[in-house]
Amino acid sequence: MSLTNGVRKSAAGVVKKGQKRAMLLMAAGILVLLLTGVAWPQNDDSFNKLPVFSEALGIIEEQYLEPQDIKKLIYGSIRGIVGTLDSHSSFMTPEEFRELQIETKGQFSGIGIEITLKDGLLIVVSPIEGTPAYRAGLQAGDRIVKINGTSTKNMSLMEAVKKIRGTKGSRVILTIMREGLKAPKSYLLTRDIIPIHSVKARYLADGIGYIRITNFQDHTDKDLRKAIKALEARLKPFRGLILDLRNDPGGLLDQAVRVADEFLDHGLIVYTEGRDKNQLMRFYAEPGARNGAESFPLVVLVNEGSASASEIVAGAIQDHKRGLIIGTKSFGKGSVQTIVPLEDGSALKLTTAHYFTPLGHSIQEKGIIPDLIVEATPLPKGKSLKALREEALEKKMRKEGLTDKPWTSPISAEELKNDPQLQQAVETLKNWPPAKLVATVRGRVPGTPPPAK
């Protein structure tokens, strides 16, 4: 996922635009003769070139080996247009757009299982705790053979997901095979709202909290606040927080701002520059301290998988010297994408602006350079690539990670040993404040653009 902005806002906008356009289209017939001589205000070229496009379309419709669905051709064309732009711009079919909306909303209606296709078989990766699937007793590794009596043979993952999802309160029957079962077993499940959590917390025995943000979606800020409160309540004294943004690909811009705001009591968080240089957007922290979240010792972990929204948060915290950034150079994606819904339910994702850290650093390609560079564990020697890959896949299947254990079970010494970056974070918090942050001058960050009126 990438940094996106204003999904719903634009969606609302398009309805009005559509109505206007319908009226205008009617008026257009009368105006044809009057306007044919009028030049396009700025860029008339692509519209002048449209006849070339229609010529090509005509040839394909008439001459290509088989008759083609025009919708497929037009979708192909729009993909081609977007393909001439930067690599973060893309086109989404209505189906893909709906998927994205579900992803960024942070919840969906279903039964609460993650599924995958392995060797052509539909497998339950894991039931999500507290969901209908979990309560019914579905297990990781279960093979789904039928959905509502329909065989899953040759079914694509997308298709299966579609069949399993549905509105809250509706029902679905899954027939599964499991090792040890003599015959397939059917489960009747009532769908419910399934939250997707983007914030996961655990703690260390030494009064240090650990929070991992997996991506930036709706409610990430609220979940974060809740997690910080819970840690503060449990850990007395609270000696600091490790905010883990490693492998966090980003998400919503406003969420990045709000997450950064949790840690800052004032000042600029990020600003963007769009096509129109006058339309500079600046995002500030809400003034005033809250819950003490603005003052406890803070370490942020980043790596080359931290992108976009993660980089905004890390950049703001670094520029304000609010915390120490540890890890490896981040990904370097400093552009903002806006979702532009089109009239048939498909959508464009366009890069509409570039963003900059409070001190005016562009993230694009440069990334965030940690205050303290600590590499991850190197690949163990003597292990074959194949074995390594399978292990990685297994791990993913089991969703093994620091935060998959209950948050009340402290991170063990063993877990720390396997993660030198996390270990360094702990060391840093134990010896707070680090030299790099001592020179902190609280106040306006130098070099920030003057506040907008």
């Binding site: 356009r21 205008l24 289209l25 008026a27 257009a28 017939g29 105006l31 044919t36 009028v38 396009w40 205000p41 700025q42 860029n43 070229d45 692509s46 519209f47 070139k49 449209l50 006849p51 070339v52 496009f53 229609s54 010529e55 379309l57 005509g58 394909i60 008439e62 001459q63 290509y64 080996l65 008759p67 083609q68 025009i70 919708k71 497929k72 051709l73 037009i74 192909g76 064309s77 729009i78 081609g80 247009i81 393909g83 001439t84 732009l85 930067d86 690599s87 711009s89 096509r275 089109l342 009239e343 498909s346 464009l348 366009l350 890069t351 509409t352 570039h354 690539l385 390594l388 890959r389």
Partner: protein, 434 residues
């Protein structure tokens, strides 16, 4: 303030242009098809969608993209949604194609396609720079000179892999099983014009290697066949190696097939506007080694002209195909120039073997599946993940290390009589189209 009227104007102009566009399409249709068929409302709605997308990009995208590139991008995207062999040529690319290759160009010797939208090597040319660098059939090319491969057709990608001889090109490739993409730098060369090698194996068997197809291949093959024919005592069998032989035109396939099958049918084509199959025949010429049992080695890198040749030899000369399923590229393309000087190359028909088997996408199944070498699966897997130069073939002894060639020899030796051909041909063949 200023923005609002402009927006209205934009919408007006959009609709006006849409109207004129549909008119243009209508007249185009009228030109090619007598009853002027009005663009359906579905077409109208879809074109409006395209205009909406164009409008949004023009107004919101952060960079300043060139406008013609948007429309050319649209046409390219449309063409690429058809099949991975279709192309769009900008006016300059089309001019270049019409003029032909002038300067001696350096190449790396790879045939390319798009597989699931990823640029993929169909086959490296044996002995060519890419082959020397360890590139294999099926390798995916992610970047060329640090630029991500996107929004280009296979033809355009091939252009990116050409340059002056001696210059280098850096590619990032990934192979199924690799954990991370690898960079490889390849020095371009003017490819050797020699396309055919031949050897005598085990004293009594002829081996012909056809590395790729060019206009000289048929002549080269003819003289190689004559050479083998002169051999005394006469040969007992022939192996034609078409593994990793990709590329070539349909005409080249016909010329080469003529050496083996004379003026028999090489293939036939069928298309949307061709009610009747159109057969293509070889040229009449003296037939050497005519009755010799023939084993043709094929694999996933056997594509295009080589596949057509393999199909013709199987159907018309009772050759045994040994190895693995071929690539499956038997499309017939046609160039359509557009009014502004650009052009489309799209598939208009497909090739079928004389016995009626389609080649496109399906490929040809071997009569006998090849055995792989004796590595354990794991060892082979690890070995395959390294980019290293394959073994060069300099004499007949080298060839005998190749498991498929030993298998072919066994097949020819076991049999030693023309029965091999008879037993293998009929059950597979379909009905000839006539």
């Amino acid at each position: 303030m200023k923005l609002i009227p402009r927006r209205y104007l934009a919408v007006w102009i959009c609709s006006v242009l849409l109207g004129s566009m549909l008119l243009a399409m209508g007249s185009w249709r009228a030109f090619y098809r007598s009853p002027a068929q009005a663009a359906s409302s579905q077409t109208y709605a879809q074109l409006r969608l395209l205009m909406e997308a164009l409008y949004e990009v023009e107004n919101k995208y952060v960079g300043d993209e060139q406008d013609t590139s948007l429309i050319y991008g649209a046409i390219r995207g449309m063409v690429m949604s058809l099949d991975p062999t279709a192309s769009f040529l900008t006016p300059s690319a089309y001019q270049e194609m019409l003029a032909g290759n002038q300067a001696p160009i350096g190449e790396m010797g790879v045939e390319l396609t798009f597989k699931n939208k990823v640029l993929t090597v169909v086959a490296p040319l044996e002995g060519g720079p890419a082959w020397q660098a360890g590139i294999k059939a099926g390798d995916h090319i992610l970047k060329i000179n640090d630029e991500m491969v996107r929004n280009m057709t296979a033809l355009e990608a091939a252009k990116h892999l050409q340059g002056p001889p001696g210059s280098t090109i850096k590619m990032q490739i990934i192979r199924n099983g690799m954990i991370k993409p690898q960079d490889v730098t390849i020095t371009l060369e003017k490819l050797s014009p020699v396309t055919v090698n031949h050897y005598i194996l085990e004293h009594d068997y002829g081996y012909l290697r056809l590395k790729h197809f060019n206009d000289q291949t048929a002549k080269e093959l003819e003289s190689a066949v004559k050479d083998l024919d002169k051999r005394r005592p006469p040969l007992k069998g022939l192996i034609l190696d078409l593994r990793n032989t990709a590329g070539g035109s349909l005409d080249q396939a016909i010329a080469v097939a003529s050496v083996f099958i004379g003026n028999s049918m090489v293939f036939y084509t069928k298309g949307r506007h061709q009610e009747q199959p159109q057969p293509r025949y070889g040229q009449k010429m003296p037939q050497a080694l005519k009755d010799l049992p023939l084993v043709v080695l094929v694999d996933g890198g056997t594509a295009r002209a080589a596949e057509i040749l393999a199909g013709a030899l199987k159907d018309q000369r009772h050759a045994v195909l040994l190895g693995f399923k071929t690539f499956g590229n038997g499309a017939v393309h046609k160039v359509f120039p557009l009014k502004d000087g650009s052009a489309l190359i799209i598939t208009v028909a497909q090739c079928y073997t004389p016995n009626g088997q389609i080649i496109q996408d399906k490929g040809l199944e071997p009569n006998i599946v090849g055995i792989t070498n004796g590595y354990s699966e794991n060892e082979e897997f690890e070995a395959e993940l390294e980019l290293k130069k394959p073994q060069e073939i300099t004499n007949a002894q080298d060839l005998l290390k190749d498991p498929l060639i030993t298998q072919a020899l066994k097949l020819l030796g076991l049999e030693g009589s023309p029965d091999l051909a008879k037993s293998s041909s009929d059950p597979i063949a379909g009905t000839p189209p006539e």
